[in-house]
């Protein structure tokens, strides 16, 4: 039997988390297929047909799939499901939106956000904001799973020669329609796959002050993140949020600036290889998990750090 991975893409390119999800799939079974569902997706198909480690790319190309509406994509997944023992997607806002809908239609209890594959039925997943790790064993015939990308290495984006097969579209469920996307434009690396992340918190104080965080990030080629407090205060857009309910990151270097370190934030970054904390409050909980803590006024320390790097 085979494993199906649902590709996350924007019709022009495949998102990096898809490659990590394929690695998780390969730990379950070597025969991995990739579903690319969208519209006008030459770019995404071009990229998909070169991915290493997959045997087949299933192409579902139809206008109603163009905006990746859960109601429509779930129908395609359900149609394909009986050919597979496992169906995996990244635990991104895309996968979190689509997969449970397909799971319910298949009467399957989804396993969310797995961080390890123990065997074909058994998986580890963080619960309680990462304060515990549960090992769960599924008794469902078809297992639907979302994958925490940071705990699986990506497969190579190139070098593969999967065969490509067309999948008949299932039509428009007629329940929802796309109105618009207010995209955050940035030339910086993607937050969840960046080698370095520089994050700011409430201590940064204002949207204007956040410029010093961004300046440091740009100097060292880092992505920019934020704590919930900074997003709630309107310093930065929602998609900067790192934490239990935002994005999960595990870069080589995470620099937390003006972030106190609530458990909900730690849940999203504590697997980073090296953690630096800069905060003027020496009792801030972030220092307990930081490899290098600097007790200092961020408005002095951050520009100094930026100028000396």
């Amino acid at each position: 039997m085979s494993v199906l991975v649902i590709a996350e893409h924007d019709n022009s390119e495949i998102k990096a988390a898809t490659l990590n999800t394929i690695t998780a799939a390969r730990q379950i079974d070597g025969d991995v297929h990739l579903l690319v569902a969208g519209a006008n997706m030459d770019g995404a198909m071009q990229a998909a047909s070169q991915i290493h480690g997959i045997a087949k790319v299933l192409k579902a190309d139809a206008p109603e799939l163009g905006h990746h509406l859960a109601e429509n994509i779930a129908l395609v997944i359900v149609e394909l499901a009986t050919n597979y023992t496992h169906i995996l997607a990244p635990a991104s806002t895309f996968g979190k939106n689509v997969m449970p809908r397909a799971a319910a239609l298949l009467d399957t209890q989804q396993i969310s956000d797995i961080s390890a594959v123990v065997d074909a039925d058994t998986f580890e997943r963080p619960v309680y904001a990462g304060n515990a790790v549960a090992t769960v064993k599924s008794s469902d015939a078809i297992k639907l799973i979302t994958v925490r990308g940071t705990t699986f290495d990506p497969v190579k984006a190139e070098g593969g020669q999967p065969e490509v097969e067309d999948v008949a579209p299932k039509g428009d469920a007629g329940l929802s329609s796309f109105v618009g996307l207010e995209a955050s434009e940035s030339d910086r690396p993607e937050l969840t796959s960046a080698d370095i992340v520089v994050s700011g918190g409430r201590g940064v104080g204002s949207a204007e002050n956040f410029a010093i965080i961004e300046k440091l990030a740009d100097k060292i080629g880092a992505a920019v993140g934020a704590s919930r407090a900074a997003v709630d205060a309107g310093y930065v857009p929602n998609d900067y949020q790192v934490g239990q309910t935002g994005k999960v990151v595990a870069p080589d270097l995470y620099i937390a600036i003006g972030i106190s370190g609530a458990i909900q934030h730690l849940a999203g970054m504590k697997d980073s290889k090296v953690i630096v904390a800069i905060n003027k409050d020496e009792d801030a909980p972030i220092f307990q998990i930081a490899d290098y803590g600097l007790v200092a006024d961020l408005f002095e320390a951050v520009p100094e750090l930026e100028s000396k790097l």
């Binding site: 123990v118 929802s176 329609s177």
Partner: protein
């Protein structure tokens, strides 16, 4: 317009949880319990729609132990008109009532109450699954607007702005529909004492889980629950120069 708001009793978000000594789950004895924070946002949104004259009735529902009545009273203190508890002694965090079973229970309540809209939290902070709203909309064949940061109600449809990885996405949904809340949808109010007193007199119906005909046998068995590996932190540097030196020469993460 009638709005159904499912809520969950969870460990308070400020509590540092501990794994049970026998690795079977999380220690819940004598731990402060609260309304799941995302569900509180859902109640607030529904109550605001009622206050704006767009909704006529807000019904809070929950699945859990007898004590989950406390959380339903909180929902009614915020402004829900009445409440329904589907009582069960099965665990509701891990190894008991799972999201699919919750969605099936909620479907039975939707069939009974015929709401025009269901607003619920996007995830509960115990199990962190983020599934129930999507599953409920699948079972009902309704549209889903997940991770909502803004709602605009029209006639027979609604516009929802969603927090997605690339920014903010706006969808138009046919109603009835399911909305799951994200953090920025609103800031829930603190219930005032007179409202807390008033909530004690509101109707709270208790149903037995068995009466709704939903099977709570778990599909996922808990093999074990463990503490995550602890991180050895606490290192300090004196100044920016020492920090740069350590990052370059000790951690070797900067060149």
């Amino acid at each position: 317009m009638k709005i159904l708001v499912p809520i969950k009793r969870v460990v308070d978000y400020n509590v540092k949880v501990r794994v049970k000594a026998d690795n079977s789950g999380i220690e819940l004895a004598n731990v402060k319990m609260s309304v799941n924070p995302f569900d509180e946002i859902a109640i607030e949104e529904a109550v605001r729609l009622k206050e704006a004259g767009k909704a006529t009735e807000v019904i809070a529902v929950s699945i859990g132990p007898e004590k989950a009545q406390e959380q339903l009273r909180t929902a009614m203190a915020i402004g829900a008109d009445r409440a329904i508890l589907v009582q069960t002694d099965a665990p509701i965090d891990l190894g008991g009532v799972e999201p699919l079973a919750v969605a099936k229970t909620l479907k039975a309540l939707v069939d009974k109450e015929s709401p025009d809209l269901v607003i619920m939290g996007k995830q509960s902070i115990d199990d962190d699954s983020n599934q129930t709203g999507q599953m409920l909309s699948a079972l009902l064949g309704w549209a889903q607007g997940t991770f909502a940061s803004k709602l605009e109600l029209g006639d027979g449809n609604l516009k929802v702005t969603r927090e997605v990885d690339g920014g903010l996405e706006t969808l138009e949904l046919k109603t009835p529909a399911i909305i799951t809340t994200d953090l920025r949808l609103n800031e829930p109010r603190y219930a005032k004492l007179p409202d807390i007193m008033k909530a004690k007199k509101k109707e709270l119906e208790v149903l037995a889980a068995e009466d709704l005909g939903v099977d709570y046998t778990p599909r996922l068995s808990i093999v074990k629950v463990e503490e995550p590996p602890t991180r050895q932190g606490g290192g300090k540097v004196a100044d920016v120069d020492e920090l740069i030196d350590k990052l370059k020469n000790e951690a070797k993460v900067l060149s």
